[in-house]
Symmetry: C2
Subunit: 334 residues, 2 copies
C-alpha cells in the first residue's frame, strides 16, 4: 500500500523532499503546498522538474491539502516552532503523521516547553506522530556523535566539528549565514538573529542522549572573513567581507567543558568535513571527509524515516525517542 | 537509586564489563559468576584488579546469583543462543533485565527463530528486557553503517570494511581467528567452525534496518597469511602460517550486490580502520582511523545501554528495536 503523502513548503529542501517522495514506489505524492504566489497554481512537473505522474498543482490553501486526507505530511517551511505550530496543528487534527525539518523541533522542549506539551498532547489525542528531523540539527552534530559515543568507557569530552562549503549550498542558506555582507551588516543581520538555528538544540540532544544534565551552555557566533575575492552562484564577497559564519556551542558539567559543537559554514571552504572526537577511553575520531552535504541529507533523512514514523506510537518525537529503522528504502518488489 | 547488577561470564570482556560497572556510581556490583574453577571463590578485587568496594567472591552457581535478586544481569559467556538460552531463562524468570554480548543475540531471529520467540515471550511474561549488543556484531558493521545510511537519497550499495589489529586483542579472539595455525589447521579449526560469529547477523541487521529483504546471502572465510615472522603476546606465526582471518558477507537484492561486509582481523595489521562507504546519492565515506577497538567498545556499549534497557518495554530486543539513549554515563551529582 502506498502512503498518501503531501509536501508542505517548496523551498529548496521541500522540493528535494517532494522529488524524492515522487521517485519512491512506496509513496504516492498527492499534494503540494506553498504560500509563494509565484508557485501557486503551477504544475508539479514544472516546480519539481520531474513528473510525479499526477496532474498535481501547488496550492496555498491548507483546506485543499486536508481534503486529500493525506497519511503523511512532509513539512519544510520555517525554523521556529511558534511560526509553524498553528499549521502543524491543522495537519495533526486531520490525522496525518507529520515529519518536519523545522530546526527547533529537533529538540522542542528546549525553547518551547509549553508549545511542545501542547503539540505532544494533540498528537497523542489524534493518534499521530510529529517527528522533527534533518541533518543539522538532527544528525551530523547530534545523532551521529551520540551513536559514536556509545563506544566510550569513559567520556571526558565530545568534540564535533562540521565544516560545510557554503558555495555548494542553497541560496537561502548562504543568505542566512551572511555571505557577501560587511562585518557590521553581519553583526546586525546574522549575529543578532542568532545565526544558524539548531546548534543549541543539537547540544541539548547530545547532552540528554548521553544522560548528562548540561549546565552553563555557551554559544558564540562570528563571521568568517574573505581573504580574497570569493563568489558563489548568488553572492560576491571582497577581501574583508563576510563569506559565512562560525558558530560554537559548549556544554559544561560540574564546571568542565564536556561537549563542544563547532560549526563553520562559508563560501569556498576547501576542506569540508564532519569530524567527531571522543576524549577519554578510548581516544578516537570519526571523520566524513568532504562532509555530509546538508541539502542532500536533510531530504533523505526525512523521507527515510517515514516508514518508522508511520508505525510509531503517537506523540511528539525527537531522534532520541524514535529510532528510524527500518528506513523507507524500497524493495524492487514494492 | 543504584542498579543492583551482576556480571555473568568473567572472560576478558566480562571482566571489563564488571570493572566498568564497578567504576560507575549509578550501578552497584553485587555478584560475579563464572564456571572456570580457577575463578570460583576468588575475590572480586583479585579477579578484576580493582576493588568494587564489596566483599564479593566469584560463584559458579546461578542460585547464588538469583538469591541476590539483581535488577540487571550483564552476560558475556558464549556466542551461540542454544548454549546460553537455558541460563538466560533463569535470569529472565527471576525478573532481571539482561544485557548479553552473545553474538547470535544481535539478530537472534536469523538462526534461531523458535528460540527467539520463546525468549521474547518469556521476557514479556516476566516484564523484563533481554538485549543483545556488542561492537561486532551490534555496532561497527551494522548499527553505525545503518545510522550513516540515513543520509542517502539513493542507496546503490553499502560497503563496510573493518580491519582490526589482532595483536592488540584478547587471547581468545586471537585463538578464534587462527593466529599461529597452519593453513590446513585454519581450514579445519576456524573455517569449518564458521570463523567469527556475527557477520551474517550484522548483514541481517543492515538489511532489515534499511527495509530491504536481502536474498542470496554469501559468505567467505579465508586465512590471512604471514609474510614475515609475526608474534603476539600469545602466538607466533612463521611466514606462510596464519596470522588471522578475513571474512566477507554479501547480501543481494534482485540480483544486485547491495551490502558488503568485509572483516579482516589479523596480527600485525598496520592500518586498522572502520570504513563505511555509501554508493548512490550521495557518494560518501565515513572513517574511523585506527578502528574501533573491540575489547574496549563491547563492554562500553553494553554498560552504556543499561539505563535504556531498564526503562524499556519488556521483550527480546535488538539494536533495531531499542535505541540506547539516554546512555548510562553518570552525572557528577549521581
Amino acid at each position: 500500500v502506498k502512503t498518501k503523502t503531501v509536501q508542505v513548503g517548496l523551498g529548496k529542501i521541500g522540493r528535494e523532499m517532494a522529488k524524492l517522495v515522487a521517485s519512491r514506489q512506496n509513496f504516492e505524492l498527492v499534494g503540494l503546498m506553498d504560500l509563494d504566489e509565484n508557485m501557486v497554481g503551477r504544475k508539479a512537473s514544472e516546480v519539481l522538474g520531474t513528473d510525479p505522474g499526477l496532474d498535481l498543482r501547488v496550492t496555498d490553501n491548507e483546506e485543499d491539502i486536508l481534503s486529500i486526507e493525506p497519511d503523511l505530511v512532509f513539512h519544510s517551511t520555517k525554523s521556529s516552532i511558534p511560526k509553524v505550530a498553528p499549521q502543524l496543528k491543522k495537519f495533526i487534527e486531520a490525522g496525518a503523521d507529520v515529519i518536519s525539518t523545522t530546526e527547533e523541533l529537533s529538540y522542542p522542549f528546549l525553547r518551547h516547553e509549553e508549545a511542545s506539551k501542547n503539540l505532544n498532547q494533540m498528537a497523542e489525542e489524534n493518534g499521530v506522530t510529529l517527528f522533527g528531523t534533518g541533518v543539522n540539527p538532527g544528525f551530523a552534530m547530534d545523532l551521529l556523535p551520540l551513536t559514536f559515543s556509545g563506544i566510550a568507557q569513559q567520556l571526558e569530552k565530545v568534540s564535533v566539528k562540521r565544516i560545510q562549503n557554503a558555495s555548494q549550498r542553497r541560496r537561502s542558506l548562504q543568505e542566512k549565514i551572511g555571505v557577501g555582507l560587511t562585518k557590521s551588516e553581519f553583526n546586525e543581520e546574522v549575529k543578532e538573529k542568532g545565526g544558524h538555528v539548531g546548534l543549541i538544540e543539537s547540544l541539548a540532544l547530545v547532552g540528554t542522549g548521553l544522560g548528562w544534565k548540561l549546565e552553563e551552555v555557551e554559544t558564540e557566533t562570528e563571521p568568517v572573513i574573505a581573504e580574497e575575492n570569493t563568489s558563489t552562484d548568488f553572492f560576491d564577497a571582497a577581501p574583508g567581507e563576510v563569506i559565512g559564519m562560525r558558530q560554537i556551542a559548549r556544554g559544561f558539567l560540574a564546571g568542565k567543558e564536556k561537549v563542544e559543537l563547532d560549526l563553520k559554514m562559508y563560501a569556498g571552504a576547501t576542506e569540508p568535513v564532519d569530524r567527531i572526537s571522543l576524549s577519554g577511553v578510548p581516544e578516537v575520531t570519526l571523520k566524513v571527509p568532504g562532509g555530509i552535504h546538508g541539502d542532500i541529507a536533510t531530504p533523505a533523512i526525512a523521507v527515510n524515516s517515514a516508514a518508522k514514523v508511520i508505525q510509531s506510537e503517537p506523540g511528539l518525537m525527537t531522534v532520541l525517542d524514535l529510532n528510524p529503522y527500518p528506513y523507507s528504502f524500497e524493495n524492487p518488489s514494492d
